[in-house]
């Protein structure tokens, strides 16, 4: 074969990005299309637990084994995305002793390092644990940043020649004689839909093979191709606290249940979660009781959560799948394992495979398996190297400490940006220009913002997920306009203003489940900053022309007719 086969991957979540990296490293020609920005789907709305496998050690041992294996891999290849916090399965007096012992045995059977610690020892590690926690099992859980990890996978794919198109929606699957031959894609355009890559219009992307990695949306792509894919989307809530009450992942040691885990992330702690089947991965109810339950139930483990400040809550939908013949009624019974659905074998439709189910932690393994499958379609015998070759930014974490001094970055800002960037810190932060902090809550500097803009275009939400800017306590109250300022120059004013509006709305939507107490006061402050000081709610640039001459022009401004009554038509200047 002359040129390598062209593979179209649909979906820019962890699964799609992992596949794109793997296939492009094996020398295939890859195009990835994603309807939003990277991590727009479930990947951007998950808990960020790097599973040790402990959670599945009783109920789903196959998944548990995969988790510990991949947990070890990610610690090696993605050091800048992973924080090895360690985890505890804690037992309260009312929790079943038998289950505790079963958990311990399960971990050991699956090869998950597990130790029993006493209540006192657990509290020595985590002082805010409840006084009546009796004991715990320690396991190698960790925290993982899904945004950074997906961006790093995409960056690696690009380095290996892949084309990544975000804000591009698959509208149709093109089929000729029972074979998928490509995709019809609509590229977004306009100031509102900010674009990176090809802008505007429809495009037929011809492909030798299509991989459907759209997670909870897989059924929709299936419909376009005329095949049935029975994904069972199941929603879960996560509530972000404003400080990191714990430094270790805290799990409740009891059989499946809601509100049983706290994961520390950067400066925050995230409470989770629930498990409820929903009809539609985009339209589902987000309910007050879910948030209240997180706080109330998890306060049993960490009492100070009861009065702590939450900064937002968000929901994600699990792309669960089980072969239709299993017929579980409760979504918590559905396996967390993943499935390759080869539509040739299954539906007599050549040229496309869907990958459904699974977990973020095992994304790489899923990518490897499907890449093997794709390669075998073309008789290509190329090895997978994604488990050995570090992701961009992760090559040599040991030198990071030195960068801090080198760039004269003050702690903690320096430490945090260097941690985010990993070994790319040198390239990004090494600027001779002043490098002020743009987002104070998360310690994100101008150089990092500019790097993210270069990587993701004018979508400030994409800049946000790359850098964490606007994701701290103030939820963008103090920095949204600064981010718009950073965008201006590279982009014109109306694009920057539209992106600014988009970020304001996005930040606001996510806070709706946290609006009481401190966070309501913060919201009132943000509203005052944006509406009172900046008049962004009634921005004359967005509205009707203003009759400037009717307003106060000052007392005897020299040079002129500066008093009320200046003759101007006051109309917008555009186009004259």
């Amino acid at each position: 074969m002359g040129s390598p086969p062209h593979i179209a991957v649909i979906g820019g979540g962890s699964t799609g990005a992992g596949i794109a990296r793997d296939l492009s490293m094996r020398g295939l020609d890859v195009t990835l299309v994603e309807q939003g920005n990277l991590t727009h789907g479930t990947t951007g709305r998950m808990h960020g637990l790097l599973h040790s496998g402990g959670r599945y050690a009783v109920s789903d041992r196959a998944s548990a084994r995969e988790c510990i294996e991949e947990n070890r891999v990610l610690r090696e290849i993605a050091t800048h995305c992973v924080e090895m916090t360690g985890g505890l399965f804690v037992k309260r007096p009312e929790d079943d002793e038998e289950y505790f012992q079963e958990k311990l045995r399960g971990c050991r059977t699956c090869g998950i390092p597990a130790e029993v610690v006493s209540g006192a020892e657990a509290r020595a590690m985590e002082p805010h644990l409840a006084k009546d926690v009796e004991k715990a099992i320690s396991v190698p859980d960790g925290a993982v940043d899904p945004f950074r990890l997906v961006v790093a996978n995409a960056a690696s794919a690009i380095e290996h020649g892949a084309r990544i198109e975000t804000h591009s929606t698959v509208r149709d699957v093109l089929i000729e004689e029972d074979e998928v031959i490509g995709l019809e894609v609509e590229h977004a355009s306009g100031a509102g839909e900010r674009v990176h890559g090809k802008e505007g219009g429809r495009e037929e992307i011809r492909a030798d093979y299509v991989v459907n990695a759209t997670g909870a949306w897989a059924g929709r792509i299936g419909e376009m191709a005329g095949v049935d894919i029975e994904v069972r989307p199941s929603k879960g809530v996560m509530t972000i606290m404003n400080v990191r009450q714990v430094d270790t992942v805290i799990n409740r040691c009891r059989p499946k249940g809601d509100a049983d885990i706290v994961v520390p992330h950067e400066t925050t702690a995230i409470l989770g979660t629930t498990d409820e089947e929903v009809e539609d991965p985009e339209e589902y109810p987000e309910e007050r009781w879910e948030v209240d339950m997180m706080i109330e139930t998890l306060s049993e483990l960490v009492p100070m959560l009861e009065d702590a400040r939450t900064i937002r809550s968000f929901w994600g939908v699990r792309p669960l799948y089980e072969p239709p013949e299993v017929g579980s009624t409760d979504p918590t019974d559905i396996t967390r394992d993943y499935f390759l659905l080869d539509h040739a074998e299954r539906d007599d439709l050549e040229g496309m495979t869907s990958i459904v189910g699974g977990k973020f932690t095992t994304y790489r393994m899923m990518g490897e398996e499907i890449s093997d499958h794709v390669c075998s379609q073309f008789g290509i015998d190329a090895e997978c190297h994604t488990a050995e070759i570090p992701l961009p930014g992760s090559e040599d974490f040991t030198v990071l400490r030195d960068y801090m001094d080198e760039f004269g970055l003050r702690s903690p800002i320096g430490r945090r940006s260097v941690e985010r960037l990993g070994s790319r810190a040198d390239e990004v932060l090494n600027t001779s220009d002043p490098n002020p902090t743009v987002c104070t809550c998360e310690g994100v500097t101008r150089a990092e913002i500019q790097d993210a803009i270069a990587g993701s275009g004018s979508d400030l939400n994409a800049v946000r997920i790359r850098t964490r800017a606007s994701m701290g306590n103030c939820q963008g109250g103090f920095c949204c306009h600064r981010l718009a300022g950073e965008l201006h120059g590279e982009y014109d004013e109306s694009t920057a203003r539209a992106a600014w509006d988009g970020l304001l709305e996005e930040r606001w939507k996510g806070q709706r489940h946290a609006l009481w107490g401190e966070q309501l006061s913060q919201a009132a402050l943000n509203y005052a900053l944006q509406a009172t000081t900046q008049n962004r709610d009634r921005d004359p640039a967005d509205g009707d022309p203003v009759d400037f001459s009717a307003f106060d022009g000052g007392v005897g401004a020299d040079g002129g007719s500066g008093t009320a009554g200046v003759a101007t038509d006051g109309g917008p200047r555009d186009g004259d």
Binding site: D292, P436, G489, S521, T532, Q534, N535, A541, V566, D574
Partner: protein, 424 residues
């Protein structure tokens, strides 16, 4: 022994300061106690009266003419238009603000490049008005992320301002570090401190003007972010005007806002001159009431409760921002005197889904009778000798209307005056 006064004002923001001033000028023995820095630290320092109607119509040219059209329970309706004018006269009397030569609102550009309607503006912002047709150069400082001059200039153009405007970014002379606080810039300019530029040292004002001159064209006025001095702003601005050869103005910015802090300081000075006593840094945490009147309030100081006693009290503790109004998952309350605050039971009804929607939380606060006494849920006066002023009041959305400082000044004036009259 309790600390005694005739009038005790709780809260030292714009509303508390105005009411203490008004009461002191009426001859009352006044004491003001305040906990933390007020929301003037966050505020632009502009004094808005009314920029938009409750339905969002605007920008309003004449705020006084629009006040009678506001809803019945709006604080401006409670105090009346003529009283608002009197209150503004008091404000004008104690500050060096501009805008009192006309009833018309001014349109002032702020740091994002939006123009907003306001009634009074600091002298330092006067040359920046958007209804002045002289061309403008906006100067940004490279390491100051809060003000992007080229973006602000383009934004102003998009709003159709009647002049040409251009933005340039320069590096501030000397070696302030990238994250220097705005007060560092201001102090350096106040002192005209020495800075090194290409091996030569010179005064910061001269060095800054020189940098500006390299990018200045024929614009007749030059705008800077609001960092032109802290104590000696007139001198700093004057020096720059001199060396650049144009009018110079400041563009109001977000927190920490020097114009807001300067206003706070000016008002505290005026209050001290009026003979009132002031204590800041400690919160009022408790009170005793007897027969429908407040007898004593308690200030917490180093763990001890210090009694303060007065005949008349003013509640000016601010809104959600100043912590004069607090909430938890189930309710909204006024924490000092536990005055009634109306709110929906379901916290999801406290806000709108759009960032700039019609937010009930923005109107949270106490309801009052016509003399600003807070009312209980059943409509009865909570305490005979307690009046409320400023953001702790409900029934108006200052952010949407652009009425924040105006309502605080007007209601502060009424609360202070009435309290003083009561003790005569």
């Amino acid at each position: 022994m309790a600390i005694e006064s005739e009038v005790l004002v709780v809260g030292g923001g714009l509303a508390g300061l105005t009411s203490a001033l008004a009461a002191a000028r009426e001859g009352a023995d006044v004491r003001l106690v305040s906990y933390k820095q007020s929301s003037l630290r966050h505020a632009s320092g502009l004094v808005d009266l009314l920029g938009y109607t409750s339905d969002g119509e605007g920008p309003i040219v004449d705020p006084y003419a629009a006040m009678p059209g506001l809803p019945d329970d709006h604080p401006y309706r409670t105090v009346g238009v003529e009283t608002v004018r009197e209150a503004m006269a008091l404000f004008d009397n104690v500050t060096d603000y501009r805008g009192d030569h006309t009833d018309a609102n001014a349109l002032v550009p702020t740091h994002g490049g939006t123009i907003k309607p306001t009634a009074r503006y600091p002298a330092g912002a006067a040359a920046g008005l958007a209804s002045d047709d002289r061309n403008v150069l906006l100067v940004g400082i490279e390491s100051m992320t809060d003000f992007d001059a080229p973006q602000a200039a383009a934004h102003l153009e998009a709003a159709g301002v009647p002049f040409d405007v251009r933005g340039e970014t320069i590096r501030f002379p000397g070696d302030l570090r990238a994250d220097a606080k705005v007060t560092r810039y201001a102090k350096l300019l106040d002192a005209n401190g020495e800075v090194a530029v290409r091996g030569r040292t010179r005064g910061a004002r001269d060095a800054l003007a020189e940098r500006v001159n390299t990018v200045h064209g024929n614009e007749q006025r030059v705008g800077f972010p609001a960092v032109l001095g802290d104590q000696r702003t007139d001198a700093v601005r004057g020096a720059l005007e001199d060396r650049i050869g144009t009018d110079v103005f400041e563009v109001p910015m977000g927190p920490p806002s020097l114009p807001g802090l300067r206003l706070e300081e000016a008002l505290f000075e005026a209050l001290e001159e009026s003979g009132a006593s002031v204590e800041t840094g400690n919160p009022v945490v408790d009170f005793d009431a007897e027969g429908g009147e407040i007898e004593t309030v308690y200030i917490e100081k180093n763990g001890a409760l210090i009694p303060n006693r007065a005949d008349q009290y003013v509640l000016a503790t601010g809104g959600l921002v100043g912590k004069g109004i607090e909430s938890d998952r189930d309710s909204v309350r006024e924490p000092v005197f536990d005055c009634h605050v109306a709110h929906a039971d379901d916290r999801y009804e406290w806000f709108d889904g759009d960032a700039f929607g019609d937010h009930p939380f923005a109107q949270f606060g106490v309801e009052t009778d016509e003399t600003l006494r807070p009312l209980a849920a059943d409509g009865r006066v909570e305490f005979e000798n307690l009046r409320a002023a400023g953001s702790v009041l409900g029934g108006y959305d200052f952010a949407a209307e652009k009425s924040g400082s105006g309502v605080s000044i007007a209601t502060g004036y009424v609360a202070g005056n009435t309290a003083a009259t009561e003790v005569r």
